[in-house]
C-alpha cells in the first residue's frame, strides 16, 4: 500500500498544470461554442466543412501523435540517464511538430487562394480563430522543445532538470490532445 502512495506523482511543476488545465478549460468552451453555433445553422457548417481537406487534418493528427510519442520515449530515456537518446527523441518530436506547422501553412495558403478568409462565414471564422490559437500554442511548444533540446546538450545532471523537462512534455501533449478534438469537430463530424 505504501508503494502505491509513493508512486503518485505529478509530472512537472504544479504551476504548469494550472496553466494546462486552464487552457483545456478555455478550449472546452471553444468546442462547445462551435457546436452551439453549428446547431443554429447546420447546413452552412456542413457545406463549409466540405471545403476543408480531411487528408491534411489526418496527416497533422498523425504528426502530432507521433511527436507526442517521441516526447514520451525521450522522457523515458531521460529517466534512464540516456542523454543523447533523449536529445535525439526530442529532436524528432520537434521535427514532427515543425511538419505540422508546414502542413498548416500550406493549408491556410490553399484556403486563402480560394478566397476563403476569416470573414467568409461563421464556420470559417471559428476555423481560423480556433486553429490559429492552436497554431500559436504549437509555436510556443516548438520553442519550449528547442529550449529543452539545448538544455540537454549541457552537461548538467539530468535529475536537476527533470521537473522542467516533464513540464515541457506535459505542455506538448496538451497541444496534441486539443488538436484531436479540433480535427474531429472541424474536419470530420458532419
Amino acid at each position: 500500500m505504501n508503494k502505491s502512495v509513493k508512486e503518485k506523482h505529478i509530472p512537472g511543476e504544479t504551476g504548469i498544470w494550472v496553466f494546462v488545465l486552464g487552457d483545456m478549460f478555455i478550449f472546452g468552451l471553444f468546442f462547445v461554442t462551435f457546436a452551439y453555433y453549428r446547431s443554429l445553422d447546420i447546413a452552412l457548417f456542413q457545406q463549409s466543412q466540405l471545403e476543408l481537406n480531411q487528408n491534411w487534418g489526418a496527416l497533422n493528427t498523425v504528426l502530432l501523435l507521433t511527436s507526442s510519442w517521441f516526447v514520451v520515449i525521450g522522457m523515458s530515456a531521460i529517466r534512464k540517464n540516456l542523454r543523447s537518446m533523449s536529445r535525439a527523441c526530442l529532436s524528432l518530436a520537434w521535427l514532427c511538430g515543425f511538419g505540422f506547422g508546414v502542413v498548416k501553412f500550406f493549408e491556410y495558403g490553399e484556403k486563402i487562394e480560394h478566397g476563403i478568409t476569416l470573414t467568409s462565414n461563421d464556420f470559417f471564422m471559428y476555423y481560423y480563430i480556433f486553429t490559429g490559437i492552436h497554431f500559436l500554442h504549437l509555436i510556443i511548444g516548438l520553442c519550449v522543445l528547442a529550449y529543452l533540446i539545448l538544455r540537454l546538450g549541457k552537461n548538467k545532471p539530468l535529475a536537476e532538470d527533470l521537473p522542467l523537462l516533464e513540464g515541457g512534455a506535459t505542455y506538448w501533449h496538451m497541444v496534441d490532445l486539443l488538436w484531436i478534438v479540433l480535427f474531429s469537430i472541424l474536419y470530420l463530424i458532419k
Binding site: I10, W17, S39, I42, A58, L65, S184, L188, I189
Partner: protein
C-alpha cells in the same frame, strides 16, 4: 535501449494512430458519419493521451478527477449539441 521503445506507450501510440484512421474513414463515409460515435472516439483518444502520455494515471486522485471531468463534460455537451443533425 530497445526496451525504451518496447513499452505500453508505444502500443498506446499505435492505438491512437489506428483510432485516427478509423475516425478519418468514418468522416469520409456518409453512412458511418455518426457524431456521437465519432465524438466518443475523439475523447477516448484524448483520455489515452492524458492518462498515458501526460502520466495522469500515476498522478494524485484530484488531478485525475479534474482531467476525467473535463473529458466527460466536453464530450457529453458536444454529443447533446450534435443531436439535431
Amino acid at each position: 535501449m530497445k526496451s525504451i521503445f518496447l513499452q505500453t506507450n508505444t502500443a498506446i501510440w499505435a492505438l491512437l494512430a489506428l483510432a485516427t484512421v478509423l475516425s478519418w474513414y468514418m468522416g469520409s463515409d456518409a453512412a458511418l458519419n455518426i457524431p456521437a460515435a465519432m465524438l466518443l472516439i475523439a475523447f477516448f483518444k484524448t483520455r489515452l493521451v492524458i492518462m498515458h502520455f501526460m502520466e495522469v494515471n500515476h498522478a494524485p486522485l484530484g488531478l485525475r478527477l479534474v482531467c476525467e471531468a473535463w473529458g466527460i463534460v466536453c464530450c457529453a455537451a458536444l454529443i447533446v449539441l450534435y443531436l439535431p443533425s
